[in-house]
């Protein structure tokens, strides 16, 4: 049990997918302008990443490994994740319109999200068991959400601050992201 908690903490804080691994920066900048959008996106990532983690782990364990096709891992994951997201989108739209209204619009954005892809590849690379995969995928997504929501909060404030003209908007966003990333480095020695 203890190991699982350590794994979760390390995925959320120490190896934060956004701020320590620098994956998924496009939605990080794109959907962090408003708190509402950021929360929606965070939820959607949690949802999709857990599913994607599971399905890619299964693909790896039952298809790629037995047939010695591990060199096709990246390309087949792309296909699997993209289809999964599309499938989930259709499924939600039909059967859970309420959930779709909340998450649906973010799903297409995630189809091409490197954070999701990255987390799935890391899971395999680290040789996680199935349970570990579920935990790490969930925690990576939580870490993503945490960083995104923190950043959205900061960005809402930045809009009111005196920012020199050449640095406005995305540039100050990137600088701030850098500073937040440095703050996250403080977690480095923890686990």
């Amino acid at each position: 049990m203890g190991d699982y908690i350590v794994l979760a903490i390390s995925c959320i804080f120490v190896n934060n997918i956004l701020l320590a691994q620098f994956l998924g920066n496009c939605p990080f900048l794109g959907t962090s302008k408003k708190m509402e959008t950021a929360t929606g996106m965070a939820m959607a990532v949690v949802f999709v990443l857990v599913l994607a983690g599971i399905i890619t782990w299964l693909t790896n364990a039952f298809i790629l490994k037995p047939f010695n096709l591990e060199y096709l891992r990246t390309i087949s994951f792309i296909l699997v994740i993209a289809s999964l997201v599309q499938f989930v989108e259709m499924f939600l739209k039909k059967s859970m319109p309420a959930l779709y209204a909340g998450l649906g619009i973010f799903l297409p954005l995630i189809t091409t999200n490197c954070a999701v892809m990255g987390a799935c590849l890391i899971n395999i690379k680290e040789d996680y068991t199935f349970i570990e995969t579920v935990i790490s995928s969930f925690s990576y997504a939580v870490g993503f959400g945490l960083a995104l929501i923190l950043f959205a909060g900061v960005r809402e404030r930045i809009l009111l601050a005196r920012v020199p003209k050449p640095l406005q908007d995305t540039s100050i966003g990137l600088i701030t992201a850098g500073i937040i990333a440095m703050a996250f480095f403080a977690f480095k020695g923890m686990v």
Binding site: K34, T37, L72, S83, Q86, F91, P108, L160
Partner: protein, 695 residues
């Protein structure tokens, strides 16, 4: 190698077939326009438009939640094609069409027998007009003669009718018309058009602070063109649902029908069409001009701020609203209680305004979270200060701040926050409460208290019922709901029990003395008439003024110089331009006038928007030419009208008293379509019809 290719083919086929089967099973009907628009957008999925990706953006456009020109990565052409899919004109929706404000009707007899040249100009030069009324149409058709496109003819009622398909907007008719009956205006010109003293304006239009074209929308209702009526109102007032519910309708006080019969129920008609739009579930499309690239910060998201933002956005400026409360609406959200203006209704109305692409930041306060300097530094070209009047005046009597004593705005806004889910704001309610004051705030406090189950609710007012500034309907409703009125009472001190909690209010009785300068009879205290009412809660609601404490913020040098009056309202150089002494700062609403009305704030917001537009274009900020501001055209205000058959005014349906005082459900209801149509027929279409008052 072969193995890999085969595997990928197999995986692809598997995924593809699963998806295609899924798309059959999980098929949901979707507006085909969504797909069409998505195809036109840039496909960058960048989120720059504020929506999560292109398909979300397309969805938003189709659902009327965004404008066709929302995509930041696409060019003007895309916007035009998107708009075409939606059947709209993108941005440049400025169709210039000649419009005729005179609609004939029962024409009055001629004032003079005239046998000169049959030309409106000659006629007008000789006599100032041939008909009884000197502002209406003369009907001799100079406009018809001058139109080279044959777009105008004199209709069978004797006034010009424009064929919109032939009109090109050349303005020849406008130039030749001596009466400014026929005008050619672009949308932006119309949005920033203000009443002129030579316009044919009905008394109600002259009096409405937002200057809505009332006879026109009533006529549209009569013709069952409810959407047209909504658009007419929205050209002047973006908060029609709110106004339709809470406006004390000064227009009805001056309604010409009111001279001989009951006034036309103008506001209920407004509410009827506004509710019609809401119940249809879709916001009617509102067009905006292409972006000008200028940025305006609107501080305060009350009616004034929302109106200013709405009009600025429509002419193409980028607007951001900053507000210190969690949600927009200002006093109409945090002051006016739920039973008068349900939050759901307000939410829908504000959503429609923000959907034009207006940004907004909540929970940020000028002076603590940001300053004017920081706005200027982040590139805002102009600032609108619509901060309302949120500081309660103190009564300045002993014991005013005992436990159990509250002030009006404080009480209402805390209660409203509590009702909207903020459990920190709960207020302990007593059993016997009094509210001091006679305005809307006081009445809203008592009506809220009675709904909270307080056993005895008093309202204590210095003068009599006739002088109460609150809306008459509100006073009546409070009487029906069992509020006890104590008139002619001057509070002396608040009495405390041992724990420092209020136990009563001592007041002096008054009598009315000599009339003062304003013509109101001044109340004078009667010596030795001290009386005590036992209470366990007291609310003082004797008026409120703007909170301009942000001026003391040392770091905001720019604001220290802002001129304010001795009532703390923001001083404008001219009440018609609402520009402050700092040229890029404008004001409007309660912040400029002191506590007033929603319509007043809406009118002020539009007035300020016009000035800001002029300022941003680098033009001189001057009042509109020949403007009719807070005045009437004397000859249009009659003492009496003849030939009017009284027809009963539409009754407002309302919840029965015993039902409504138990809850915060909306108390006033909307009139039926049938009575709206009937009511619309009571309007005399004043000043657009030549009305012969002697016949």
């Amino acid at each position: 190698m072969t193995e890999a290719i085969l595997f990928m083919l197999g995986l692809g086929a598997a995924c593809g077939s699963v998806l295609s089967i899924a798309s059959k099973i999980f098929y949901v009907y979707e507006d085909p326009r969504i797909g069409e628009i998505e195809g036109l957008l840039a496909g960058a999925n960048c989120g720059g438009c504020g929506f999560a990706g292109c398909s979300a953006a397309a969805d938003a456009v189709v659902n009327g939640m965004a404008q066709p020109n929302l995509c930041v990565a696409a060019d003007e052409e895309t916007a035009v094609s998107v708009a075409a899919v939606m059947g709209l004109n993108a941005g440049s929706s400025e169709a210039v069409i000649s419009r005729n404000s005179c609609t004939g009707g029962n024409r009055a007899s001629d004032k003079f027998i005239y046998s000169g040249v049959l030309s409106c100009n000659a006629m007008s030069n000789f006599y100032g007009g041939k008909r009884n009324c000197t502002i209406g149409c003369l009907g001799l058709g100079d406009c018809v003669k001058v139109c080279t496109f044959n777009a105008i003819e004199i209709g069978h009622d004797g006034y010009p009718v424009v064929d919109e398909s032939l009109c090109v907007g050349c303005k020849a008719c406008e130039k030749v018309c001596p009466k400014s009956i026929i005008t050619v205006k672009t949308m932006s010109e119309r949005l920033f058009d203000f009443n002129r003293n030579d316009d044919p304006l009905a008394p109600c239009v002259q009096t409405c602070p937002a200057q809505i074209n009332i006879p026109q929308y009533i006529k549209q209702i009569r013709n069952r063109d409810f959407e047209g009526a909504v658009n007419t109102i929205r050209e002047r007032n973006p908060l029609l649902l709110a106004c339709g519910r809470v406006c004390p309708h000064p227009c009805e006080d001056i309604c010409r029908r009111g001279l001989e019969d009951e006034a036309v129920s103008i506001n209920q008609l407004k509410r009827f069409v506004a509710d019609y739009e809401m119940n249809s579930g879709k916001h009617l499309p509102v067009t905006c001009a292409p972006s000008t690239g200028k940025k305006v910060a609107v501080i305060g998201g009350g009616p004034a701020g929302l109106s200013c933002a709405f009009f600025l956005k429509r002419v193409g400026h980028d607007v951001t609203i900053f507000d210190m409360t969690p949600k927009l609406g200002g006093m109409i959200r945090y002051g006016i209680p739920e039973y008068r203006l349900p939050k759901e209704v307000l939410e829908w109305e504000i959503e429609g305004i923000l959907n034009l692409g207006i940004e907004h930041h909540a929970n940020v306060k000028l002076g603590t979270d940001f300053t004017i300097s920081s706005l200027v530094a982040s590139g805002y070209d102009a600032v609108f200060l619509g901060i309302g009047a949120w500081k309660d005046y103190a009564l300045k009597i002993e014991g005013e701040d005992l436990k159990g004593c509250f002030t009006g705005i404080n009480f209402l806004s805390n209660f409203s926050l509590f009702q909207q889910g903020d459990s920190d704001k709960e207020i302990k309610i007593g059993k016997k409460c009094a509210v001091i004051g006679g305005g809307n705030t006081a009445i809203d406090c008592v009506r809220t208290l009675i709904r909270l189950g307080v056993e005895e609710v008093y309202i204590v007012y210095r003068r009599t019922r006739n002088e109460m500034p609150a809306n008459m309907v509100e006073i009546e409703a409070a009487e029906h709901e069992g509020i006890k009125f104590v008139f002619l009472a001057a509070p002396e001190k608040v009495l405390a029990d041992e724990d420092g909690h209020i136990k009563g209010l001592e007041y002096l009785k008054m009598e009315l003395g000599e009339p003062d300068a304003s013509g109101r009879r001044r109340p004078v205290p009667i010596k030795g008439s001290e009386t005590v009412i036992e209470l366990d809660m007291l609310i003082t609601a004797i008026g409120q003024g703007p909170d301009v404490s942000f001026k003391n913020n040392k770091s905001d040098i720019r604001l220290n110089q802002l001129a304010t009056t001795r009532w703390d309202t923001i001083d404008s150089v001219d009440p018609e331009t609402l520009q402050s002494n700092i040229p890029y700062i404008f004001t409007g609403g309660d912040a400029a006038t002191g506590a007033s009305l929603v319509v007043e704030a809406i009118g002020g917001g539009r007035r300020a928007a016009r000035s800001i537009d002029l300022y941003l274009k680098g033009e001189k900020v001057t009042p509109p030419e020949n403007s009719l501001f807070e005045k009437n055209i004397p000859e249009s205000i009659f003492e009496s009208v003849s030939g009017i058959n009284p027809i009963e005014r539409a009754k407002m349906p309302e919840l029965p008293v015993d039902e409504r005082i138990k809850s915060f459900v909306e108390a006033d209801l909307v009139i039926s379509e049938e009575s709206a149509l009937k009511e619309s027929n009571r309007c005399l279409t004043c000043c657009v019809t030549c009305y012969n008052k002697d016949s």
